[in-house]
């Protein structure tokens, strides 16, 4: 059967309880969480593909908190730069005065709460939220009580599961132990810390609002926070003037900090950013393609050696600590989104909110008036197939051929495999059996020749780490050409 949420879940890593349930479980308003779990794992059903299947309700919510002290030179996200006045929010959480909150933040959170209130839950029988992600921007600039207010609103509107994953992005220099404790007290149980680099010069060159000292301070605060066991350290590779020694150093420092998760983003030069004006990809002072490919490989090697699984192109984690919220994206499951410029995926429709504050405020008004309604549409099969391929090939689990075949047909699955054939042979693509053991390319080819019986051995294909991941755009766009010639 065709599901809006493409059922990849059956071959996810075994679902474990989150390592820590940070706070007493909030009362669930709706059905027990087993319903949601059942919905997720329904892929084992053998119903034939049918595009008319009713969509799964979202169990994830993204909340955009766009405030930053200043814009980093590589950033093209919708953000609101608060200026240096916001440079030292530490201590505010200690109750120095609620009145000191920046009115821009307060006004925005009000708008957010209105959006939450105006958003109808997709299902009436209530699937509670399993994950919430506060992204930015620099969400740690928002006073914890306002974060808590948003979380409360979400709980009130959609319900929260027994052990939800609640993540927040934080930047060094924007919080102290008390502020973190306050966030954890509000229900946050996962932090994603934007370190980016461990070199003062590099941080300055990217226009980051913090230095190495603040990084170490922030790492100390995280390590000593008792209520927080699950956190991610984010790094950027291929920065201008970054050397291999610097990169090795950053990786070493990251491993030493013992996070449960590491994200490694390869710097993308975007049009309209300061870097976009200053640099050309692959040209000094940016590393050459060869160098930045080597940075990627080094990260994969060092982090694997330190016990991290490379489970997605830019994500590494200790076993069991995958970011569940991001898995929602990669498994093509629906999710709510709230806030400036954020993108939701509800009822088969992806919708990006306005990126300008004024337009976003107007849009919220329309949502309240009922003059803007989230539409509901059965998705285009080709689009859906492309999403599934694009998202699942980003992960180490790869593409489940059997499910894909069920949803999109055998012949498309065969064409996909055929186009990947030379790359299975060259090692960029790995074919695996149902027990996720890698198959030699000859076995893959044999299986392919055996059209009628295809799939007797091959059950998954994935991109290899690091070579296949490094060429993922090429490989995925090749697949796109097959799906939508």
């Amino acid at each position: 059967m065709l599901r809006l949420a493409f059922p990849l879940v059956s071959h996810l890593p075994p679902r474990k309880p989150p390592p820590i349930c940070s706070r007493p479980q909030p009362a669930r308003r709706y059905a027990p969480s087993s319903t949601a779990a059942a919905a997720y794992t329904s892929s084992s059903s053998s119903t034939p593909p049918s595009p008319s299947l009713s969509p799964l309700p979202p169990a994830s919510a993204y909340v955009h908190l766009p405030f930053c002290r200043k814009r980093c030179h590589y950033c093209d996200f919708p953000i609101v730069a608060l200026g240096s006045a916001a440079a030292s929010p530490r201590g505010k959480g200690e109750g120095e005065g609620e009145g000191a909150d920046d009115p821009r933040i307060v006004d925005y959170v009000r708008l957010l709460l209105r959006e939450v209130a105006a958003t109808r839950p997709v299902s009436d029988d209530g699937v509670p939220l399993e994950t919430v992600f506060f992204g930015g921007g620099t969400p740690s600039l928002v006073p914890p009580r306002l974060v808590a207010a948003v979380l409360d609103a979400l709980r009130g509107r959609f319900g929260l599961s027994a052990c939800p994953e609640v993540s927040i992005e934080m930047d060094p220099g924007t919080f102290d132990a008390a502020r973190l404790a306050e966030l954890v007290g509000a229900g946050v149980n996962r932090v994603s810390l934007g370190v980016q680099a461990f070199q003062e010069g590099l941080l300055r060159a990217c226009g980051r609002a913090h230095g190495v000292e603040e990084v170490h301070e922030a790492l100390g605060i995280l390590a000593s926070c008792e209520g927080l066991q699950n956190w991610s350290l984010d790094l950027i590779s291929s920065l201008p003037n970054q050397t291999q020694e610097m990169w090795e150093e950053s990786l070493r420092c990251a491993v030493d900090a013992r996070p449960t998760h590491v994200s490694v983003y390869d710097l993308q030069i975007e049009k309209g950013t300061k870097f976009g004006q200053m640099y050309t990809p692959g040209v000094f002072p940016l590393p050459s393609d060869t160098e930045s490919a080597s940075f990627y490989k080094i990260a994969s090697k060092r982090l694997s050696e330190a016990g991290y699984n490379h489970y997605e192109i830019s994500s590494y984690c200790k076993p069991g600590y995958e970011c569940k919220h991001n898995l929602t994206y990669w498994q093509n499951r629906p999710f709510y989104a709230f806030g400036l410029g954020s993108a939701s995926y509800i009822n088969g429709v992806r919708y990006s909110r306005p990126r300008r504050m004024k337009e976003y405020a107007e849009w919220v008004q329309h949502l309240e008036d009922g003059t803007w309604i989230h539409e509901c549409r059965s998705p285009d099969m080709k689009d859906l197939a492309m999403d599934v391929v694009m998202l699942s090939l980003r992960t180490a689990w790869g593409l489940d051929l059997q499910s894909f075949s069920k949803s999109f047909g055998r012949s498309l699955t065969l064409s996909l495999c055929n186009i990947f054939k030379p790359f299975v042979e060259s090692g960029l693509v790995i074919a695996m059996d149902s027990k996720r053991r890698a198959l030699p390319h000859t076995a893959f080819e044999l299986d392919l020749q055996n059209e009628g019986d295809f799939g007797s051995r091959v059950a998954f294909i994935r991109l290899s780490d690091p070579e296949g991941f490094l060429l993922s755009n090429e490989l995925i766009s090749l697949a796109f050409g097959t799906i939508s010639p």
Binding site: Y62, H64, F77, F133, G135, S263, V264, Y265, D266, Q268, D289, T290, S292, A293, Y296, I313, S314, N326, T328, Y329, F335, A337, S342, A343, S344, Y345, R350, S352, M386, D387, M390, L391, P422, F423, S426, L428, F469, L470, L471, S472, N473, E474, L475, I476, S477, L478, F480, G481, S484, P485
Partner: protein, 661 residues
């Protein structure tokens, strides 16, 4: 015989555009003023209408037919404009300059691609001052000048040979002159642009005397720009060019000068009536095809289609007769009274295709669009041969035969400009002849069609040659001789046409000049060289087929035939060029040039290092997806051989690889 061929070419040059006829329409009848100007004949009535009875006032002795021939940019178009203005045929300052150059390609390049005619009425006042001065009907016939637009208009009795007063005689001038001379045309030399500060008309007169034995006193000195000396031109035409020689009482017989396809009117033929008279309603037949037609409309170009209902002996105009395609209207054909047998007029020459190239849609899915564009364009240029072909790299396309390099260029340009077609063309080639040990012979118009390993001995190969005329300032003689010998040229003549300039004649393989010769010649002579050529005979040559292989797979559209001694160099250059234009892919690519099974050049392109989007977009996958879709579209535009994607630019760039360097 070189001269004769040259003449042919110049004759081609004679006229400029008929092509434009299809765009005439409205404006034709909207210039009443032009008939009121001094030289216009008021009795032709208002609003441009000209009646048949008026044409009857112009028996052959009151008719003059002439063309203007010139090296490019020597002022032919401007002179034509001035003559049309002088006779009130067009109004000064109205309409576009280069009135007869109606196609964009003609205006841009300053060449004539389609023949065009214009009828002017002129009172010969210098002969008689009073109002009884005799009136003449003058037909300016603009025909393509270049060898490519192979054409013979022996029925034209005379021409104006225009030479730039500063630049003097140039390569085309020479070709033009000999063509006209061998056809026994009356030649009126016109030294134009005498207003320029660097004008040296005396030197030009010297050149004309030395090269062509033209009496300096015959030359007219003009400036089409300022109008100086123009008043002598038409009287000279009347006095020095004989009237058309036809027989008025014979059944009608006429020469087909060119034809155009008009969406509303169908095929419009431009004709010169040689004998008899042609009337609306007459039944006429083609000597070439034997098909018969009824004359639906007949008239003169004054300067646009002006119906008269009749054309008399010696007159020039247009005929619409219900032809469906210009393929029925062959240039140089004789049209005559149906049911009578007539001697065809000399002039018809079947098109000889000397340059071939494959044309493919840039986007493989646009085959139908390209097919449609080519079909439409060949409606107006029946001299192109078109056959379908298929390439492993480029998909479905067409092998087109052209009369020459310029013809091919112009065809490409028109496809793009007039029909918006995006085209990939393969390296142009010439018709080679290969003879095998078993006595079999084949003509090769597509190198890909020649077996790389035929399994039998090649006994001999032949290639077409040309006789090239090059005129250059004498300090450039050294480099030009070097260039010609690199191109396997054989020197036939080396003379000085004045104190500063030399004339070189070479026999060159046609293949050697179809790619990049003229550009290089211009480059090494700071732009001073002028160049023209005429077809000559085939010569025996040591030729081999050069294959290009990507990861061992031959790319048929890149195969080429080269001289054995050059194979190594050309192969190396092609391979290096390809390495530059093929992008890195997910695997290593070997690029090879081979003769048969022998590899003569090789390059390796290493695999791509990285192409990954490792950035988090907060769940907003639409952007990421758009990027990947764009990448997919990019791949789609590529041409694929085996597993290797070849960007279109690679094909374009290969065209620029010269034969010699």
């Amino acid at each position: 015989m070189a001269g004769a061929a040259a003449l042919r070419r110049s004759a081609r040059r004679i006229s400029r555009h008929l092509a434009a006829a299809s765009s005439f329409s409205r404006s034709a009848l909207q210039q009443p003023e032009r008939l009121l100007s001094s030289q216009a004949s008021p009795e032709h009535g208002a609003r441009g209408a000209v009646s048949g009875s008026e044409l009857a006032l112009y028996p052959p002795e009151r008719v003059r037919n002439f063309s203007i021939i010139a090296h490019v940019d020597h002022g032919k178009s401007t002179l034509a404009d001035r003559l049309l203005e002088l006779t009130g045929t067009i109004q000064k300052g109205h309409g576009q300059p280069q009135y007869l150059d109606k196609l964009q390609v003609e205006r841009e390049r300053g060449i004539t691609v389609k023949a065009q005619t214009a009828t002017m009425f002129y009172r010969h006042t210098t002969a008689s001052q009073d109002s009884d001065a005799p009136r003449y009907l003058l037909n300016l016939i603009d025909t393509p000048g270049h060898v490519d637009f192979s054409y013979e208009v022996s029925s034209l009795p005379g021409c104006l040979l225009v030479v730039d007063a500063a630049q003097g005689v140039q390569a085309q001038t020479i070709a033009n002159f000999y063509l006209a001379f061998e056809s026994n045309l009356s030649i009126i030399p016109v030294i134009n642009k005498i207003d320029q500060p660097t004008a040296d008309p005396d030197n030009v007169k010297e050149q004309l005397k030395r090269l062509f034995d033209i009496d300096p006193s015959e030359a007219l000195l003009t400036s089409a720009k300022t109008g100086k000396g123009l008043e002598q031109v038409l009287p000279a035409v009347i006095d020095r060019i004989p009237s058309p020689p036809g027989k008025c009482d014979s059944p009608v017989r006429m020469l087909l000068l060119d034809s155009y396809y008009d969406e509303y009117k169908g095929v419009i033929c431009h004709v010169a009536v040689v004998d008899g008279a042609l009337r609306k309603g007459d039944k006429i037949a083609s000597a070439a095809t034997g098909r018969a037609y009824e004359v639906l409309d007949v008239g003169i170009m004054h300067p646009e289609l002006t119906p008269t209902g009749v054309l008399y002996t010696g007159q020039v105009g247009y005929v619409i007769s219900g032809m469906r395609s210009t393929k029925e209207a062959r240039i140089g054909d004789t049209l005559h009274q149906a049911k009578s047998t007539v001697e065809p007029l000399p002039g018809f020459k079947p098109a000889k295709h000397m340059v071939f190239s494959g044309l493919y849609p840039a986007d493989g899915s646009d085959f139908e669009a390209l097919s449609h564009a080519i079909e439409k364009l060949t409606c107006n240029d029946a001299s192109v041969s078109v056959t379908k072909e298929t390439s492993n790299a480029l998909g479905m396309g067409f092998r087109c035969g052209f009369l020459g390099l310029l013809h091919m260029d112009v065809f490409h340009q028109r496809l793009e400009q007039e029909y918006g077609a995006q085209v990939i063309s393969t390296i142009p080639t010439v018709p080679y002849i290969f003879e095998y040990g078993d006595g079999s012979k084949i003509q090769v118009e597509n190198p890909a069609a020649l077996a790389s390993n035929p399994g039998k001995r090649v006994a001999a190969c032949w290639e077409p040659t040309v006789i090239a005329t090059i005129i250059i300032p004498s300090e450039y003689v050294g480099p030009v001789i070097m260039l010609c010998s690199e191109r396997r040229g054989e020197q036939l003549e080396y003379t000085f046409i004045d104190a500063q300039r030399a004339l070189l004649k070479y026999r060159l393989p046609l293949k050697e000049i179809i790619v990049d010769f003229y550009n290089e010649l211009k480059g090494i002579t700071s732009g001073y060289a002028t160049f023209d050529y005429e077809d000559s005979e085939y010569q025996q040559s040591d030729l081999v087929k050069l294959d290009i292989l990507l990861n061992g797979q031959p790319v048929d559209a890149m195969a080429t035939i080269v001289h054995n001694q050059k194979a190594q160099r050309v192969g190396k250059e092609l391979v290096e060029k390809l390495k530059k234009f093929i992008e890195r892919q997910m695997f290593e690519i070997t690029i090879q040039a081979a003769i048969g099974s022998k590899i003569i050049a090789r390059e390796t392109l290493s695999a791509m290092r990285k192409n990954v989007l490792a950035k988090c977009y907060g769940g907003d996958i639409t952007r990421k997806k758009k990027l990947l879709e764009k990448q997919k579209e990019g791949k789609k535009r590529m041409k694929r051989v085996g597993s290797v994607d070849i960007p279109q630019e690679a094909f374009h760039e290969l065209l620029k690889v010269s034969n010699s360097k």
